[in-house]
C-alpha cells in the first residue's frame, strides 16, 4: 500500500517553507542593497533573484487566494514520496539561493558573477522544483 499524506497539510508545509525562505532572501538582498553590497548594480542582483522565486511563489499564492481554506482538498491525499521529493527539491533550491546571495564576497568570484554562474544550474533546478511543487497546487488528489 502506498504511503500517503494529506494534500492540504502538504501544501501548507511547502508554502510555509517557500514563504519563510523567500522572506529571508528578500530581507538579505534588501539589507545588502542598503549596505552598498552591489554598488550601483542593484538591479542586476534583484534581476537574478526575482525570476528564480516568483514563478513558484506566484503559483502558491494564486492557489491560496483562490482557495484560502483548502476546502477543495480537505480530505484529498497524495503520495508521501512525491511530497518528500517536492520538499527536498524546494529545500535544496531555496538553500542554494540563500547561499549564493550570502557568500558572494567570500568566494573568488564577485557576487554578481557568482549569481550569473549559479543561474546556469539554478535555472533548470528551478524548473524541476516548480513542477514538483505544482503537483500539490494543481493536483486534485486521489
Amino acid at each position: 500500500m502506498i504511503s500517503t499524506v494529506n494534500v492540504s497539510s502538504a501544501r501548507n508545509r511547502l508554502a510555509g517553507l517557500w514563504f519563510l525562505v523567500s522572506g529571508i532572501l528578500f530581507i538579505v538582498l534588501f539589507i545588502q542593497t542598503l549596505g552598498g553590497y552591489y554598488g550601483d548594480r542593484v538591479q542586476e542582483a534583484w534581476g537574478w533573484l526575482l525570476p528564480l522565486l516568483l514563478p513558484t511563489l506566484s503559483l502558491i499564492i494564486g492557489v491560496f487566494v483562490a482557495d484560502p481554506l483548502n476546502k477543495v482538498l480537505e480530505s484529498a491525499r497524495t503520495s508521501r514520496f512525491v511530497y518528500r521529493l517536492a520538499l527536498c527539491l524546494s529545500s535544496v533550491y531555496l538553500l542554494a539561493l540563500l547561499v549564493v546571495a550570502l557568500v558572494g564576497q567570500l568566494t573568488k568570484l564577485a557576487p554578481l558573477d557568482l549569481m550569473k554562474v549559479s543561474s546556469l544550474g539554478l535555472g533548470p533546478l528551478g524548473g524541476l522544483v516548480t513542477a514538483a511543487v505544482g503537483i500539490f497546487f494543481v493536483k486534485k488528489g486521489k
Binding site: 538579505v28 545588502q32 552591489y38 567570500l106
Partner: protein, 313 residues
C-alpha cells in the same frame, strides 16, 4: 646652397676629397658632414648639369665647426665662403648648473632612450602634499638631485615600497611607487594583499566581521605615490588617469636616476611634491575608478603610509 637664381640644388652630392665622408644636399639646400677629423680638406660638389665644383683648402680644427656657404655665381663660377665656428665647451668637472648639465632643452626630455617623460603637467591628482622645502633644504647631505632621489628611495624602502621608477619632469624628476592596496583610512593593507590588484576575500574572525562580509560591500582602495622634484610650480592637467594607465608608470620608468639629472644641484628653488593617485573599487564587480578627490588629504596619506616619518618630516 643655391643656384644663381636663388634655387636650391637638392640631391647634389657633396664629398670631402680624400676621405669617404660625404652627403647629399637636402630640400632646403643644406648639407651637414659630421665627424671630420682636424686637417685641411677640399669639398667637391657634383650636380647634374653643372661641372663639378671643388672648394679651395678649408682648414678644420679640433672642436671646430665650419659653416660653408656655396653660391653659384654667373658663368658657372662657384663661390665657397667658409665661416669657422667654435663648438660647445667640453663638460665641466664640477657639479654643473641645470643649464650646463642638461643634454637637452629644458622643456624637452633628453631623448626617448635616455629617461622617459612623466605626463606633465601631471594628470589630476586625488590629493597632494608639498613637502616643506625648508625641511629638505635643512638636510646638509642633500646637495644634488641624486641625493634627494637617494633620500626618497631610502624612505620608500623603509616603508615597504619595493619597486619605484624615475621619470623626467621639467628640471627635475618624478619618482613613482608601485600601486598598493590600502584601507579606507589610508594605511596599507597587511601582507601580500598590499600589492594585489584584486580585492581580497574578507577574513572572518568575529561576528561583526561576518555580518560586514555578508551585507556590506567589500570595497578596494588603491594608491600610487609620485614624488615630483622640480623648481617649477605647476598645476594639474584636466586629464584623469585610469588605474591601468597609472600602473603602467611602473613599467615605463628607469630604475635609477641618470647622472644628467642626478648631478643637478639641489637648490632652494626646488620643491618636492607628493602626488597621490587613489582609486576606489566600490565592489568586486566594479572597475576601479579614480577618486577625485580622495577622502584623505595628501598629508594624511603620507602619515598613514609612514612616508612622512621616514622622510623625517
Amino acid at each position: 646652397m643655391v643656384t644663381q637664381n636663388g634655387e636650391s640644388l637638392a640631391g647634389a652630392n657633396v664629398v670631402v676629397v680624400g676621405t669617404t665622408l660625404g652627403t647629399t644636399i637636402d630640400v632646403s639646400g643644406r648639407f651637414v658632414i659630421r665627424n671630420v677629423p682636424a686637417g685641411t680638406y677640399q669639398i667637391r660638389i657634383t650636380i647634374i648639369g653643372y661641372r663639378p665644383a671643388i672648394s679651395p683648402d678649408i682648414r678644420v680644427r679640433a672642436g671646430q665647426a665650419i659653416e660653408l656657404e656655396v653660391r653659384f655665381a654667373d658663368e658657372g663660377q662657384v663661390e665657397f665662403i667658409p665661416r669657422p665656428r667654435e663648438m660647445a665647451k667640453p663638460p665641466p668637472t664640477s657639479p654643473p648648473t641645470w643649464e650646463e648639465a642638461r643634454p637637452f632643452p629644458v622643456d624637452k626630455p633628453p631623448s626617448v632612450n635616455d629617461i622617459p617623460r612623466f605626463p606633465w603637467p601631471p594628470p589630476k591628482t586625488s590629493a597632494q602634499a608639498v613637502i616643506a622645502a625648508e625641511a629638505l633644504q635643512a638636510r646638509q647631505d642633500l646637495r644634488i638631485l641624486a641625493d634627494v632621489a637617494k633620500a626618497l628611495m631610502a624612505a620608500m624602502d623603509s616603508c615597504g615600497y619595493g619597486e619605484k621608477k624615475y621619470y623626467w619632469i621639467p628640471k627635475g624628476f618624478a619618482l613613482v611607487s608601485r600601486i598598493e592596496q590600502i584601507q579606507a583610512d589610508g594605511s596599507p593593507k597587511p601582507g601580500k594583499d598590499r600589492w594585489s590588484i584584486e580585492v581580497a576575500t574578507p577574513r572572518i574572525f568575529s561576528l561583526p566581521s561576518l555580518l560586514e562580509a555578508l551585507f556590506t560591500a567589500n570595497a578596494g582602495y588603491y594608491r600610487i605615490v609620485v614624488f615630483a622634484v622640480t623648481p617649477q610650480s605647476f598645476a594639474e592637467s584636466d586629464s584623469v588617469v585610469s588605474r591601468e594607465d597609472a600602473m603602467k608608470w611602473l613599467h615605463g620608468g628607469m630604475q635609477s636616476l641618470p647622472p644628467s639629472i642626478g648631478n643637478i644641484p639641489f637648490t632652494s628653488e626646488y620643491t618636492c611634491t607628493a602626488l597621490i593617485y587613489e582609486f576606489e573599487q566600490v565592489t568586486p564587480n566594479h572597475a576601479p575608478r579614480f577618486m577625485d578627490p580622495s577622502n584623505l588629504t595628501g598629508q594624511m596619506h603620507l602619515e598613514k603610509s609612514q612616508l612622512r616619518k621616514a622622510l623625517g618630516l
